[in-house]
């Protein structure tokens, strides 16, 4: 793609939630300048309010803060907080956006987030972040780990007393700031404003806001969080006691035409299960009870989580019950739930009732839509279509996250990467245009020089100086071998001391630096940076911790703590003398990608790669492209999919940057990220190619049912077969059709939900009703999982007379042929509690979707794991759904999990965006601390090959026929297990070498001489006489 001028290599991301951050990081890593706009004072979005996330129970803040800090610190990302888009003009690739930046009265450069001003602020306000359960001041930090860590003055509540300014040590508060309008030139826009929670007060029958112990699910989440109001305890707001019984009411503000939210908010079911489990963990003896209509556990390992919740954690589930109302017992503030079960009205008492609130469109989104000129659907979410789920109605403006449709975190993250890819496609030529990198002076080669060690002992104010006798430590350091300079400083990591260190290095020609101060885990990078600036290899540096592991923990024993400080310094100097220069391996990146699987996902990925200017090698095991899409004829709203497929295949075949291999499979894959060697066997002819990255899009297969007389009676067919029949024949002569759901899914053998078959059944049912409304359709289901906007089609089907019959897992429908040869289906209706007998003309089974047959073989070849069900296992279920743990290999489509057409398209674009963050670089820096093989000592026994989990060592043949171990620098992670297993220590580690560690051990115990002193041989003589 030639670099036409006028394209701007910058993107504006509206919304700093998890989706906005993921899109921003992908774009920034690929070399684009990113402006992140958020109306709130700091990024983090809704996820920042969560305590734990389902189904893995990761602590939300623990997995979010690295993303927060990365976004805040990335030199290609500019954060524009408390800002809104005022107007936009221009065309795709060249927009000018005017941004209204609300005054926050605090200078972002100066404020350190220390929070001193909040102590003296007299005004207390209900804290929205904590859903009003806590108070905050008029000047506040949204939450402790907020990024950017800048306070904001809430102008509406602040009385302007000016106390905060007097308290601010940094002088960061400036009341004269006014609202300003800033003009920004960008290439594309990504909308990720997220959603707003439904106000449960609108459902007055549940008494939210009236009865004290009726909470919203977000309020409970805040209570469960350690930074929440009660530090993780769940307390009844009425009397501060821990609850004994807690009830969850699902679908509050979702699947509810009355409040204008007919759609399903997709996440509240799983959210409730998680909260029920975590609440039980925090409150011993708590009983939790969830009232729901359908349990929509359609994501990865959601069903196992749902089963575990029921069996292991004893959460009680009451199906098919929509609680009618809640009343309160005034003395005890306990709550009574009224619901009907099997026709009888029931009342149960609970200490706390939690309303699982659904999603509404983001606050004042109409204004935003109008300014940007994009269309919204009737629910206020962004209007997208099936084929381009990431594009808004206006070209150049893309959408991801909950704003396009309610979805959970992994789907939002996948869509965010997808939107990033779409945004890049407009400005592919301008990649890297507006981005700069940091330079360092040339590195002096110190190999062969006598070790000259400089020791810098830190006071760290009084953190160390208050307990250890730091000056005497510096004096002591001077006496150690190889030490040519030693000094103590008040703050070794402060800017001026860094300069001091570089001066001393140049002055005294130091070639090793030892710093005795705090924990190397956080400070090594700073000092290594200083060494680089002083022209020294950064690995000629050793740090020892005399603060967190000495002065702070031995405060009441200063003498012996100083003694320990001496030992720690002696050990560091002993190791420093043996340190060698290490250079991280640089891997050339091949600018081409391998896409495995030529279905919808594979083809979309290949096309996006080509748009971004990279070659794509598309490997398809069948004779023609299309995968499972070849058997799907129409979308939910009747879109012609076969037509789309033809056009897509043509696009792929015409694109000269995409090399298609049909009837092909992978013979062998070796190498690592940046340079995979791939041997493709296509139609018998083997070609060896080199690829920078690999995208796995192997798709899935339809389950061959064995139940319900399938294969024995022509009238029994799967939904896909039925769809083909409808599409081909255009009409159907039948009076009665029965559809059975969950055939092969959610069984003991395959305890997962295939996600798409409920909607597929509804689609086909609607198609039949269109053809002939007279035909009776019975849909036998366990849980209707038509999540998101698909819920409306479920309602439409019900309105058109489709009879939905719920059956429980234990009493499945029985199918047989009666004496007149008619099909007969008998099922116990769970609601009516009576047996139904139907004689359908056709029996259509919603068959499960299985992982592709080749996954097993491929997973071994790529050395990437499969999950228990045979689908590929991604690096992190919540925040890295499209990456594998092994770098450079990515995942999308049905290979990850069964999913819908538009979700496949999003994930395919997402995988491309993740891949571009590598392909856009020329070289990749590997790990510097890696294993080193001494080939003379290596016996080629291969023990290291078996030991290594990352496949870094491999045996290679030398000219003289000897086999020796060879370490692949890109794969070695530096753990050192191989060097221990190597029996004659042929492998040692950079920076943690065997000799270096031994020198530390020997210097740690100086009393006994080493090795034992030589004794006279004479001593032997007198022994013999005795």
């Amino acid at each position: 793609m030639s670099d036409e001028e006028g394209k701007i290599g910058a993107v504006m991301v509206v919304g700093g939630g998890i989706a906005g951050m993921q899109a921003a990081l992908d774009l920034a890593d690929t070399g684009y300048l990113v402006y992140v706009i958020d109306s709130s004072p700091s990024i983090g979005g809704a996820m920042a309010q969560l305590d734990k996330t389902f189904p893995t129970h990761d602590c939300a803040m623990c997995i979010l803060s690295p993303k927060l800090v990365a976004t805040g610190r990335h030199h290609n990302v500019k954060l524009m907080m408390a800002s809104e888009i005022d107007a936009i003009e221009g065309e795709p690739g060249n927009f000018t956006v005017s941004v209204k930046r609300k005054a926050r009265y605090v200078d972002e450069e100066k404020c350190t987030g220390c929070g001193l001003c909040t102590l003296r602020c007299p005004v207390e306000v209900r804290d929205e972040y904590n859903q009003g359960l806590k108070l905050r001041k008029a000047i506040y930090l949204k939450y402790p780990q907020a990024v950017p860590p800048v306070l904001t003055i809430d102008r509406d509540n602040c009385i302007g007393c000016g106390v905060c300014e007097t308290q601010c040590v940094a002088g960061a508060i400036n009341f004269s700031r006014e609202e300003e309008l800033v003009k920004v030139d960008i290439g594309s826009v990504i909308l990720a404003p997220g959603f707003s929670g439904f106000d449960p007060g609108l459902k007055s029958e549940y008494g939210y806001g009236v009865f004290k112990n009726v909470l919203s699910s977000v309020e409970l989440e805040r209570m469960l969080s350690a930074t929440g109001p009660y530090r993780g305890m769940v307390l009844r707001p009425s009397d501060g006691r821990m609850p004994k019984r807690m009830a969850f009411i699902q679908c509050v503000g979702s699947r509810d035409v009355q409040v204008g939210n007919p759609y399903c908010s997709s996440v509240c079911c799983m959210f409730a299960i998680k909260e029920a489990i975590i609440a039980k963990e925090h409150t011993p003896g708590l009983e939790t009870h969830i009232f729901f209509m359908d349990m929509r556990a359609f994501g990865k390992e959601f069903d196992e989580y749902y089963i575990r919740a029921e069996e292991e954690h004893r959460v009680v589930f009451t199906r098919n019950t929509r609680v009618s109302s809640v009343s309160e017992n005034p003395e005890t503030n306990n709550l009574h739930l009224w619901y009907s079960e099997h026709g009888k009205m029931r009342r149960e008492e609970y200490d706390i009732v939690v309303l699982s609130v659904g999603f509404d469109s983001p606050k004042d989104v109409e204004k935003l839509a109008e300014k940007l000129g994009i269309e919204l659907n009737e629910h206020g979410f962004c209007q997208t279509d099936m084929f381009t789920p990431l594009d808004t109605s206006k070209p150049g403006i893309y959408v991801c996250g909950a704003f396009s449709s309610p979805k959970d975190i992994p789907d939002s993250v996948a869509q965010a990467s997808g939107a990033a890819c779409r945004a890049m496609s407009d400005i592919a030529g301008a990649r890297g245009a507006l981005v700069t990198a940091k330079e360092y002076p040339p590195e002096i080669d110190v190999s062969g020089q006598e070790p000259k060690v400089g020791v810098f002992v830190c006071h760290c104010g009084i953190n160390i100086g208050g307990v250890l006798d730091v000056p005497s430590l510096a004096e002591y350091a001077k006496t150690l071998p190889n030490v040519v300079h030693a000094e103590d400083n008040l703050y070794t990591c402060s800017q001026d001391t860094q300069q001091r260190i570089s001066e001393v290095v140049r002055e005294k020609g130091l070639n090793r630096v030892v710093v005795a101060s705090c924990t190397p885990r956080t400070h090594t990078t700073i000092f290594q940076n200083t060494l680089k600036e002083a022209g020294l290899n950064p690995y000629l540096f050793e740090m020892t911790n005399i603060r967190d592991q000495c002065s702070w923990v031995h405060m009441n024993d200063p003498e012996r703590a100083t003694e320990k400080g001496r030992t720690l310094i002696r050990m560091a100097v002993a190791k420093a003398a043996l340190l060698e220069q290490l250079r991280p391996a640089e891997v050339e990146i091949v600018k081409s990608a391998l896409v495995i699987g030529g279905g919808l996902s594979g083809m979309t990925a290949a096309l996006e790669l080509s748009k971004a200017g990279f070659d794509a090698h598309l490997v398809e095991k069948d004779s023609e492209l299309g995968g499972l899409l070849r058997r799907i004829h129409y979308g939910l709203s009747g879109e012609d999919l076969q037509g789309f497929l033809k056009r897509l295949v043509k696009q792929v075949e015409d694109d000269d940057r995409i090399h298609v291999y049909t009837n092909a499979e992978l013979k062998e894959v070796s190498g690592s990220v940046g340079n995979f060697t791939v041997v493709i066997d296509s139609e018998g002819e083997e070609t060896e190619t080199h690829q920078g990255v690999i995208i796995v899009a192997t798709g899935g297969e339809e389950y061959e049912p064995t139940e319900y007389l399938y294969g024995k009676d022509p009238r029994v067919m799967t939904q896909l077969e039925f769809e083909e029949k409808l599409a081909k024949e255009g009409e159907i002569d039948a009076k009665c059709i029965v559809m059975v759901h969950c055939v092969g899914s959610r069984t003991a053998e395959r305890p997962y939900c295939s996600r798409v078959c409920c909607t597929e059944s509804v689609k086909n049912a609607l198609r039949v009703k269109e053809m002939d409304p007279g035909i009776a359709i019975y849909s036998l289901f366990r849980d209707m999982r038509t999540y998101g906007f698909r819920e409306e089609f479920y309602r439409e089907a019900a309105e058109k007379g489709v009879v939905f019959v719920r059956f429980l897992e234990e009493n499945e429908p029985v199918v047989r042929v009666d004496d007149q040869g008619r099909l007969e289906v008998i099922v116990l209706d769970d609601i009516l509690q009576e047996e139904l007998l139907i004689n359908p003309d056709y029996l259509v089974l919603a068959a499960a979707t299985l992982p592709a047959r080749g996954n097993e073989e491929l997973s071994r070849m790529l050395k990437v794991p499969l999950n228990s069900q045979g689908f590929f296992l991604e690096a992190h279920m919540k925040l890295r759904p499209l990456d594998f743990a092994t770098d450079g290999i990515f995942l999308c489509g049905l290979a990850h999990l069964p999913k819908f057409f538009e979700e496949n398209v999003s994930q395919a674009c997402g995988a491309v965006s993740r891949a571009l963050s590598i392909l856009s670089q020329d070289t990749l820096e590997g790990e510097a601390i890696i294993a080193v093989v001494d080939e003379s000592k290596c016996r080629g026994c291969g023990v290291c090959v078996d030991t290594c989990e990352f496949g870094a060592p491999s045996l290679k043949q030398l000219e003289d026929g000897r086999q020796v171990s060879h370490i692949d620098e890109a794969l070695c992670k530096g753990c050192g297990s191989c060097s221990v297993n190597c029996c004659n220590k042929a492998i040692s580690m950079g920076y943690f070498g065997t000799g270096q560690i031994l020198s530390m051990i020997e210097s740690c115990f100086p009393e006994t001489e080493t090795p034992p002193a030589e004794k006279e041989v004479a001593e032997v003589k007198e022994v013999t006489e005795t």
Binding site: K973, C975, S977, V980, N981, I997, M1000, E1007, T1008
Partner: protein, 151 residues
């Protein structure tokens, strides 16, 4: 040859103990104990390695030979290892080394293997306390000042 008398527990005996801490979990736990100012005895000196799988049995034997009264190996909980199975290998080697130390008479109670996660500051401090006390009760290492040895 008389049974070697248990070395008299000199009062005021301060054991010197070496601890190998893995960079990702136990070293972070040690730092957390520091940040939360949990006080614990001075006797333990920490040697940072990238993974508990890096600790060679010879390092432990060499430390004991040089007069260490106790050696601690700490790593991530099983399943948390940054390198997937470093701690599993550490456990296998620890069991073999313990058998060897029992046989040659130093006794495996002088070495200890513990899993400390990055958020376990308290457990780290308690381990320091408990292990120092355990070694103090054991008394100084029989190899200390071992140049005498012989008949």
């Amino acid at each position: 040859m008389t049974e070697a008398m248990a070395p008299a527990k000199e009062e005021g005996f301060q054991p010197s103990i070496l601890a190998f801490c893995c960079n990702w979990c136990s070293y972070a736990g040690a730092d957390l104990a520091g940040v939360s100012r949990l006080q614990y005895p001075v006797n333990v000196k920490v040697l940072r390695v990238m993974c508990s799988g890096r600790v060679d049995p010879y390092f432990v034997m060499r430390a004991l030979e040089l007069g260490a009264d106790g050696v601690l190996i700490t790593g991530c909980e099983i399943g948390d290892c940054h390198y997937i199975s470093g701690n599993v290998k550490a456990k296998e080697r620890f069991e073999r080394l313990s058998k060897l130390l029992d046989q040659i008479g130093i006794g495996s109670e002088r070495i200890r293997l513990e899993w400390i996660s990055a958020s376990d500051g308290i457990k780290f401090a308690e381990l320091m306390e408990e292990f120092t006390e355990h070694i103090t009760n054991l008394g100084p290492s029989p190899l200390k000042g071992s140049a005498t040895g012989g008949v």
